[in-house]
């Protein structure tokens, strides 16, 4: 047995999914985190708990929830299939499962980072004539950046390692939805030690490089 070209598929899929997930959680998590960091309203703690739920729920529960939503008979799934779209058991389902699971990590890190920005900087910018949008991009975001990057890295890592929810909504279809964690699990199960070992080595080295690179970068930022 050897490691074939097509055996690289899980690696490429996993990395691609992880990058898309980072993009998705950044686009949705940043505005929400900024909003929740600065506003107070009735029922905020309930919403907060709801947003953080995927962090504590077993991945299989999240997978089940997604099945109810986008499954063939799910309320969104029914609508989508009526316009000819089916997400379930495609690699978009992989993206969806990983996004839901990774979102709270990004959200919490970004919220903490926004809260840590001294309000006086924003007030000073306001008296200097800056619009709220300009303040966000020139003051708040740069000052919160290290914390936000930490959240993005956590989300990336979580997306790379997603297993349970992905298996439930996307299945384990080699060449279509098989990510690294799934490939490792099923390789071990079928006794294909070479594939398992190779993939374990790849993901270990890759994860190490990402964490090491980010740590180096954030140390530089402090000087």
């Amino acid at each position: 047995m050897t490691f074939h070209v097509q055996d690289w598929f899980p690696v490429i899929l996993s990395v691609r999914v992880a990058f898309i997930v980072v993009f998705m959680v950044a686009c949705t998590g940043l505005p929400l985190a900024r909003f929740m960091a600065r506003r107070d309203f009735y029922g905020k703690d309930v919403l907060e708990a709801f947003i953080t739920m995927p962090l504590v729920l077993p991945p299989s529960v999240i997978g089940y929830g997604l099945l109810i939503m986008i499954g063939k008979n799910g309320f969104m799934g029914k609508y989508l299939s009526s316009i000819g779209i089916s997400i379930i058991f495609t690699w978009w389902a992989v993206v969806m499962a990983s996004t839901v699971v990774a979102f709270p990590l990004m959200y919490q890190a970004a919220k903490a980072a926004f809260i840590s920005v001294d309000l006086n900087y924003e007030k000073a910018a306001r008296t200097l004539g800056a619009s709220e949008l300009r303040i966000f991009f020139t003051i708040t975001l740069p000052l919160a950046w290290p914390g936000i990057v930490a959240g993005l890295v956590l989300a990336f890592a979580r997306a790379l390692g997603e297993f349970g929810a992905t298996l439930m909504v996307a299945g384990n279809i080699p060449g279509q939805t098989q990510t690294i964690p799934l490939a490792i699990y099923f390789a071990v199960e079928s006794g294909d030690d070479l594939t398992a070992r190779t993939l374990v080595a790849i993901i270990t080295v890759f994860s190490f490089l990402v964490i090491w690179g980010v740590n180096r970068w954030s140390q530089k930022q402090q000087h």
Binding site: K123, L128, S131
Partner: protein
């Protein structure tokens, strides 16, 4: 000319303000927790009063009756924060330019002007440094340059000397008086220090628990 007559309900007392100020230095003197910072925030547009009226050079900035509330960025009111609030991630030069970049109308001279501004505050040699590399006195000069760079019609100063040692305090007190002579706009300064109040104030108004009374008026 600043005219302000407004009230603001705070959790433990009500702030009641009646101020009229030409191109003078008005010092608001009172203990901490007297509502001084809240008053400045209301004038600058950073918080809204409960009711009342604020106008600057005949432009209405706030009126609860007419439902007018001009946002802070359009009020032409400069604010010197107690801790100076210099943006820590950009250089001195970028801090001073920040307000100019926000202005839509960009006259060709503004760049030159802000260079002169840095120079006139004696901080030109610091322009490539970051705020954390500055001493207390330097920080204040940079913060003043930043606040005045946008040519405001009123300058608010919140406890400007509280972060300085005695020596610097005496120097900068003098400089603020000179600045006032140069700029010819009203300054409104709040402090808990009696010495600051008597040295700088053309008008001194005492404030305690949100209530105000005039203590001194120069030439009266």
């Amino acid at each position: 000319m600043l005219q302000a007559r407004f009230s603001k309900n705070l959790w433990n007392f009500k702030l009641d303000t009646g101020l009229e100020l030409d191109n003078q230095i008005l010092v608001l003197w009172g203990p901490s927790g007297a509502g001084k910072t809240t008053l400045l925030h209301c004038l600058a547009g950073l918080v809204s009063p409960s009711e009342g009226f604020i106008s600057l050079n005949k432009r209405i900035l706030y009126s609860s009756v007419d439902r007018i509330n001009i946002p802070a960025r359009h009020r032409s009111i400069a604010y010197l924060f107690q801790d100076y609030a210099l943006f820590p991630h950009i250089t001195v030069q970028e801090n001073v330019y920040y307000g100019l970049k926000c202005q839509k109308r960009r006259d060709a001279n503004s760049r030159l002007n802000s260079m002169q501004l840095l120079d006139s505050f004696g901080v030109k040699h610091l322009m490539h440094r970051y705020p954390r590399q500055l001493s207390g006195g330097e920080k204040q000069r940079v913060a003043l340059a930043r606040a005045l760079a946008v040519k405001p019609q009123l300058l608010l100063l919140d406890e400007p000397f509280s972060a300085l040692d005695k020596e610097n305090k005496i120097i900068l007190r003098q400089e603020i008086k000179m600045l006032h002579n140069q700029w010819k706009i009203p300054f409104l300064l709040v402090t808990h220090d009696e010495e600051d109040a008597s040295f700088l104030g053309d008008v001194v108004v005492g404030i305690d628990q949100g209530a105000m009374r005039e203590i001194k008026r120069a030439g009266a």
